[in-house]
Amino acid sequence: MNDSKSLRDRIVRTVRDIPRSGIRDFFDIVSSREDVISLGIGEPDFVTPWHIRDAAVRALDRGATSYTSNMGLLSLRRGITKYVEKKTGIGYRPEDEVLITVGVSQGLDLAVRALVEPGDEVLYHEPSYVSYNPLIQFAYGKPVAIQTKKENGFRLTRKELEAHVTPKTKVLLLNYPNNPTGAALEKKDVKAIAAFAVEHDLIVLTDEIYDELTYDRRHYSIISEPGMKERTVYLHGFSKAWAMTGWRMGFTCAPPELTEAMMKIHQYTMLCAPILSQEASVEALRNGDSDIAFMREEYKKRRNFIHASFEEMGIPCIYPDGAFYAFVDISQFGMSSKEFALRLLDEQNVACVPGSAFGPCGEGFIRCSYATALDDIKEAMVRIARFVEKL
């Protein structure tokens, strides 16, 4: 291949031009160090509850090693419709409105690929989970980021939406409770966004993976708004609420036409989600309510602690309503969030993720995950206090 194009040149331009995740870069640095207290982890520190693991072991013992239907086990889809209806009041048909996916990540990919044609605009809000923008680009759509503001508690407003919508806008992608800001929407915010989506005839993709982790009020889903079920893909999964990240289990609830379209892509690219993970998820839905309640209470204590600690240090921290992240404003120290995170790691061995990894408006913030044992959080707060004192 001496005279031919280099391998790099042969890679699809979109893929070549998209930088790898800023979290990934940071991970490589952190991995090379010993005795780091990490507040950089976006997954529960709990191991999957034993009865759920046991269900997978029993399924394996029984010989559950085959494919499932493309849509996923019917027993699991039935469990999901019951679960979703209980939370949102919205019923879906397990037969043709629910699709089991490999994590919400895959569900989102399916939804974007099923809906976005080259040049279609997709509205989403930043700071955001790192995969949203690339996913849209991989589908040759145009990502249109709305920079949410600290003053609004990183909640998306109708005014901001109106400023970014164009005739080419086709999809609105939402993620509340939010990674990385911990922001959750109030019912009135949801109503305003729903009205906007209807008025502009948009399809809504709502990633509500953190909905069980709201602490001070009940989560209100946009699908509960009249007229929204018909135009919404509801994305959820087992990773956060049941501490099942490694099982890679997600699902979508959507009208039959959309579900069928997503199923086709799923069928030809993934076939089905792994059967053992599906079996475990059946058990999670059947007997996992108390696990969620327990973990929620634990996270709430840590949330209180981490927020109070930053306030005590004189570092403003958005009061996190949901998820398990504190998005901390470090702009007063006059350095970029990456520099802050690197120096904190270097000088005090505490890892957190620079806010800039989640979009330009995350600059000036760091994301501290409190999905970490309380004792570690306590020590991390002592170290951070020591670090900022010297700045």
């Binding site: 952190v30 990490s38 950089g40 995969s131 204590k301 840590r302 602690f305 005590e312």
Partner: protein, 159 residues
């Protein structure tokens, strides 16, 4: 259970300052509530959960099922209280089922425990029979895993 008590049950050495932050109340409030619990006898003591297998002086734990004849006045209470007074008796529970009292005894050797049963317990008026078991290994105690470390296989940074 009360959240403050839950925290103390997890870690009795937790500082009032930290507990105040965790619960979103003032430090004074935490201290006052703890004082009340102590006064009311809700909190009976603060103890360490010790893995005795790690110590050279490890003690033998004996579990004894005891059948007794309840008294016409006071039922099981009087005899249970009498048994509780022996310093080698660590715990006493009244049980439903095939026996009445369940005892946990700590001794230096099996013979010491056997001596307690034959000389002090079985001879006590009201005790009709005993069944003695020696505890071999502790896997979990007071909600704490005693053998395994809770290793976490998580990555240090993830999305």
């Amino acid at each position: 259970m009360n959240e403050l008590l839950k925290l103390l049950k997890q870690n009795a050495l937790e500082s009032p300052e930290n507990m105040a932050k965790i619960l979103g109340i003032s430090v004074d409030e935490v201290k006052q509530k703890i004082a009340e619990y102590e006064k009311e006898g809700v909190i009976r003591a603060y103890q360490a959960v010790v893995n005795e297998e790690k110590l050279d002086t490890s003690l033998v734990t004996t579990v004894i099922e005891v059948k007794v004849t309840p008294e016409s006045e006071g039922g099981f209470d009087r005899i249970a209280t009498r048994i509780s007074k022996f310093p080698e008796v660590e715990s006493v529970f009244l049980m439903s089922g095939t026996f009445d009292l369940l005892l946990f005894i700590k001794g230096r050797t099996m013979y010491e425990a056997a001596g307690f049963v034959s000389e002090k317990l079985a001879t006590m008026p009201g005790v009709t029979s005993t069944a003695t078991h020696f505890m071999m290994k502790t896997y979990k105690q007071n909600g704490i895993l005693m053998q395994t470390r809770d290793d976490n296989e998580r990555l240090k940074v993830s999305p």
